[in-house]
């Protein structure tokens, strides 16, 4: 073990440090004072790591709210289902509705991606989709990456 030698410190506080601190506090204070009233947008992800736009729940929620019609319009504000529209919770073990059982059997890894995109001929029949938009096509044109973001989020809903 090395000998303990404390690190020496010069006492005192330079004046410029006080000036800099006051200046920064003033700038921040002016910003806060001029942004008192308004409404925040829906949460869009975490500044520190939601960078890719495709990894965070915030990014998924942003997509869910952004597409037209929004997922919550039909499936309810908590995506727990409403009226004839099924719940999007508990999809970890497969679909909860009969018209998707065969799709899940044929594509166990990515049946949700195919269903949300709706551009695959196997699931593009309007009668089978029962009003579900094909989000991979116009006007939303979600990319496979964006759909994967939504799928990952939906799989977390227990």
């Amino acid at each position: 073990m090395s000998v303990h030698t404390p690190i020496e410190t010069r006492p005192g506080l330079p004046r410029w440090a006080v000036g800099l601190t006051v200046f920064v506090l003033l700038v921040g204070g002016v910003y806060a004072a001029s942004n008192v009233s308004g409404t925040n947008p829906p949460i869009l992800g975490e500044p520190s790591a939601g960078a890719s736009g495709a990894v965070s729940a915030g990014a998924a929620l942003a997509l869910i709210n952004k597409v037209s019609p929004s997922c919550t319009t039909c499936h309810g504000p908590d995506l727990a289902g409403q009226a004839t529209f099924p719940s999007l919770h508990g999809l970890q073990n497969g679909p909860t509705v009969d018209n998707l059982k065969q799709l899940a059997k044929d594509h166990p890894n990515d049946w949700m991606n195919i269903w949300i995109a709706g551009t695959d001929p196997a699931v593009s029949d309007p009668a089978m989709r029962k009003g579900m938009p094909a989000f991979g096509g116009p006007p939303n044109n979600l990319t496979p990456d964006q759909i994967e973001t939504i799928v990952r989020y939906l799989l977390t809903l227990k």
């Binding site: 690190i7 410190t9 006492p11 506080l13 920064v24 869009l44 975490e46 496979p144 990952r152």
Partner: protein, 493 residues
Amino acid sequence: MTRKLRPYDEPPKARRSLLPTAPDSAATLFLAVAILWLVAATGIGALAQMQRAFPDLLKASLQVPLGPGITLLVTPATTTPAFVDALIFGWLSNAAFAAVCFITPRLTGTRLATDRMATFSLLAWNAAIAGGVALLYVKGASGTAALAEFPLPVKGLALVGLLGVNAVFWRTALMARGDRYISLFYFGIALLALLGLMALSTVPAVISLGATNDQVLYAFYARAVATYWVLGASLATLYYLVPRVARNPLYSGGLAWLGFVGWLGFAGLSAIGALVDPSVPYAVTSLGTAGTLWLLAPTFLAVANLLGTIRGRWSLILSTGTLSFSVVSLAFIAATPLLESVGALRSVQAWTAGTTWPMGVLVFSALGGATFAYYAFADHALPRALHRAWSESILSDVVLWATFVGTALAGFAMLAGGLVAGSLISQGAAPDEVADAIRWIQLASAAGLGLASLGALALLVNAFLMYTAAPLIELSVPSSIPTSATTSAAAGQ
């Protein structure tokens, strides 16, 4: 009478144990594991950026025959969080724990309390992080909130490891007598903050708060991890290294305390700025954004204090070593809050949300500021822990320049990509058009992370060569050069 020594009479040759002997064994182990994590993290990061540039070519989905529905996915949606988690929890956290174990005894003049506890913490923490990162690739096994994706059992194991490190630190720090140096305060708050935040991130798994409240909580958590843990532990390490290596007293004790108090308050306030949701009052979010602006002050004060400490020793930064790594770290640390402040403004946030801008800021913060602080720490600590000298090869230069150029390239490319994508999205461009427009920028960021990975690999090889082939040396703790009567010998005053 003399007797010829027969072979079987010879005393056994001294064998080097695989693990270095105490008191620095815990620090060495944490650092060795951290370097492995850095190689992995930068490699995964480069892969993630390549996947973003060529999503169709580099996407893998693998059905594992372990049970029904177990699918491994290697897509940007899994590799990007794996990169961030491996970087923050794998590399930076292990390196910070190593710094805690190495620096605390030297500042308190006591041995590290409970070496076994430190080793146990290392096992628990790394088992949790490795398991958590692996589960990110299993479809449906992890959450999607940034830095909080791990399932509850994994977080529980990580909390056990974190409790152990906290116990080791506080027992050692509280045993000290007399004045305590500023690094100990930064370490103490940073460790407690990470423990509290990690516990906070488990709340949504235990109590149902609703989907939106969960995301609000996670947003606070992720931002606070960056401000309290990543920034705090880096500054603690640099406050120890720079005066030690420059052999100057710390430039100003008052500056150090003003910076510390500012960081303590504004780091938390800045995290409130991440609560961007209609459920949070607008004025509260604005105050949080102001907190991000205010965080500029303590960060700049700390950087200025440490640069002032190098006065008269500037020639030391011309050669690759602890001080040159520290100066690069300070440059990135100074740049980060500027970028964060700009990005926190509502108009900019609306422009860059969902783009690569925040990831660019993260690269500057974590792969720039914090990583170079721990490079400086490794450069200083490994020779003292292993009693061996660094090799005279070019590997140290490769570590410095490959990581510096790679981090700058990746960071600037991601910031530029974010601005371009934000501009195109605001003009109503389709996702495919945006992807095409920023493909070359994404390739540049992949190349940058690849270079950083090369730097990490060079550090790993250099450390391995030191352990296996370098001659034994003994380094003493440098004493400060006598200075004027105004110098206070009591650190931290």
